[in-house]
């Protein structure tokens, strides 16, 4: 379990992290969301022991930072922002070096390296120098490095940045398939990632925690939660009649589609169907939305 208790980090006059408290249990995949400069990366640097907090305490599976820093670092696999690596090393040399620092020797070391090379599909670039690799490969080398010791805690700062959709899919698959007793913390800008991966989302803005919820709970906070979008095949102008339905707060019309936002908890799906029947409108498309994360993101962080 990871536990942050009233953690703050001050850089001169700037408070990057402000009284942040939360805990994460084994098995959770925590998404870390927030605008640029909100303190996501700083918080991750504090959890990995790279930065010491100005105040507050951090505990990782019973080890408190910074006192037991070395023991804590052994449990963590970390992909820093931008996946830095020594460009002059080969993928093979780099991964072996990391494995050795993680305490593996000889055959065991080679076995660990082989395993991550296989799961991240790095075989074809195994002998290549890291600085000659594409962005996607570099990112995967960074992930391989973080996974090499099968860590209990995995901290990934924008793990899919720079990957193409296929690679993103594979990396997400990989993270999802990690064994269930791990803690995974992911920071991301990509909101679809939250739905695809995370069991919980923490949103921070200006270093403060603004929301701690499951993706579904977040979606429910959206104005578009349970919004109904409808398109009619007949050429009509239904806007006025739709507006008159009870509980409709706003209608957005675009490309012949009408999106009806309603008061919380009152979906207007049935009402729309009824109205269409009464008026003899042919429905070409009708669906209900779960909510839009980008909308919630804006609402909470601005």
């Amino acid at each position: 379990m990871i536990k942050l208790d009233q953690v703050s980090k001050q850089f001169g006059p700037f408070r990057a992290v402000d009284n942040l408290s939360f805990s994460v249990s084994a098995g959770e995949v925590l998404g870390f969301l927030g605008p640029n400069g909100a303190g996501k990366t700083t918080t991750m640097k504090i959890i990995t022991g790279f930065l010491a907090p100005t105040s507050g305490s951090i505990e990782l599976f019973g080890q408190s930072l910074p006192k037991d820093g070395l023991k804590a670092k052994e449990m963590i696999g970390y992909l820093p922002e931008g996946a830095p690596a020594w460009g002059d090393m080969s993928v093979c040399g780099f991964l072996r070096f990391i494995a050795e620092l993680r305490g593996y020797k000889g055959a065991q070391r080679d076995e660990r390296v082989a395993q991550v090379v296989e799961s991240l599909e790095l075989t074809q670039v195994f002998e290549r120098t890291i600085e000659t690799l594409s962005k996607g490969f570099k990112r995967r080398v960074g992930l391989a490095q973080a996974l090499i010791h099968d860590p209990k805690i995995l901290i990934l700062d924008e793990p899919t940045d720079g990957l193409d959709p296929n690679q993103k899919f594979k990396v997400r698959e990989l993270i999802r398939n990690l064994s269930k007793d791990k803690i995974v913390i992911i920071s991301t800008h990509i909101l679809e990632e939250v739905n695809a991966l995370c069991s919980r989302v923490i949103m921070i803005a200006d270093g403060k925690l603004v929301s701690d919820a499951t993706p579904a709970e977040l979606e429910a906070q959206s104005d578009y939660h349970q919004a109904v979008t409808v398109r009619f095949s007949s050429a009509i102008d239904p806007q006025q009649k739709l507006q008159q339905l009870s509980n409709v707060t706003r209608i957005e019309a675009a490309d012949g589609c009408f999106t009806l936002l309603s008061t919380p908890g009152n979906s207007v799906l049935e009402d729309v169907k009824q109205l269409a029947e009464q008026e003899n409108w042919d429905i070409a498309e009708l669906y209900i939305e779960k909510g839009r994360l980008d909308d919630v993101f804006r609402k909470l962080t601005t």
């Binding site: 070395l70 670092k73 963590i76 970390y78 820093p80 690596a85 070096f97 993680r102």
Partner: protein
């Protein structure tokens, strides 16, 4: 300290995985030969010793050591690998020392490759090999002191050029603190004991003492303290630097 050898091995390997090591060694050998034979007049002195060769070492190191040390930390800071390195289960001291030792051994290798000169003087005459051995040791120790200063300067910036210039300046000051030119700045307004202390910080004075063949414990200690002190400072600077 059980992970120090792993870092040392990687660092030393990284010199030889790029042309850097070979370029450095070749130029080091060429320049040291030019100094010895052309400028120093190795043959003209008519003596079977390596005095002229070692006389130029402080000058050689003034430019060659900063060239090696500038990338020690500046490059890690620029590329962000410092974050990777220091979140691995190692102590900061292991990283600082591992990097330093690799660079120091690398300079030691370059120095070893000048030994054909030693063979040559033995062929030409009958030199005092004890003095030559002491000079080699003194030279290597001096390079270590330069390197430790360079390590600290390299940690202050993520720009290698700035690190290079800072290191040259610092090394220059520490070479000549014993000279009247510099001491006259302090004379008169600083207590004599402090001026003496500044004078005793001169790398050149201590190196010259060793290269005369006098292996005084105090000279050895001076270089070791310089190295330990500047490496300690390196660790402090990195600790500060990662926060910003």
């Amino acid at each position: 300290m059980n992970r120090l050898p792993i870092i040392f091995k990687r660092e030393l390997g990284s010199y030889f995985s790029t042309p850097l090591a070979y370029v450095f060694i070749v130029i080091f050998l060429i320049v040291s030969s030019i100094f010895t034979f052309n400028i120093g007049g190795f043959y003209e002195t008519g003596q079977a010793d390596l005095q002229v060769f070692f006389n130029f070492h402080p000058w050689l190191y003034l430019f060659f050591v900063p060239a090696i040390s500038m990338r020690l930390w500046a490059e890690e800071l620029r590329a962000g690998t410092v974050e990777l390195l220091l979140t691995l289960p190692i102590k900061l001291s292991e990283a600082v020392l591992g990097k330093f030792l690799a660079a120091w051994v690398f300079i030691g290798i370059a120095l070893l490759l000048t030994t054909p000169l030693w063979v040559t003087v033995n062929y030409l005459g009958d030199p005092d090999n004890g003095i030559i051995l002491a000079s080699y040791l003194g030279s290597w120790l001096m390079s270590g002191a330069f390197l430790a200063m360079g390590s600290c300067m390299s940690a202050t910036t993520h720009n290698q050029v700035i690190a290079f210039i800072l290191t040259i300046s610092l090394c220059f000051i520490f070479m000549f603190t014993g000279f009247p030119m510099i001491l006259s700045v302090f004379n008169g307004w600083l207590p004599a004991a402090l001026v003496d202390m500044i004078a005793s910080m001169s790398l050149l004075t201590h190196f010259n003492a060793i290269s005369r063949g006098v292996l005084d414990f105090r000279d050895l200690l001076f270089f070791i303290i310089m190295m330990v002190g500047w490496l300690f400072a390196t660790a402090i600077v990195i600790e500060k630097k990662k926060a910003g």
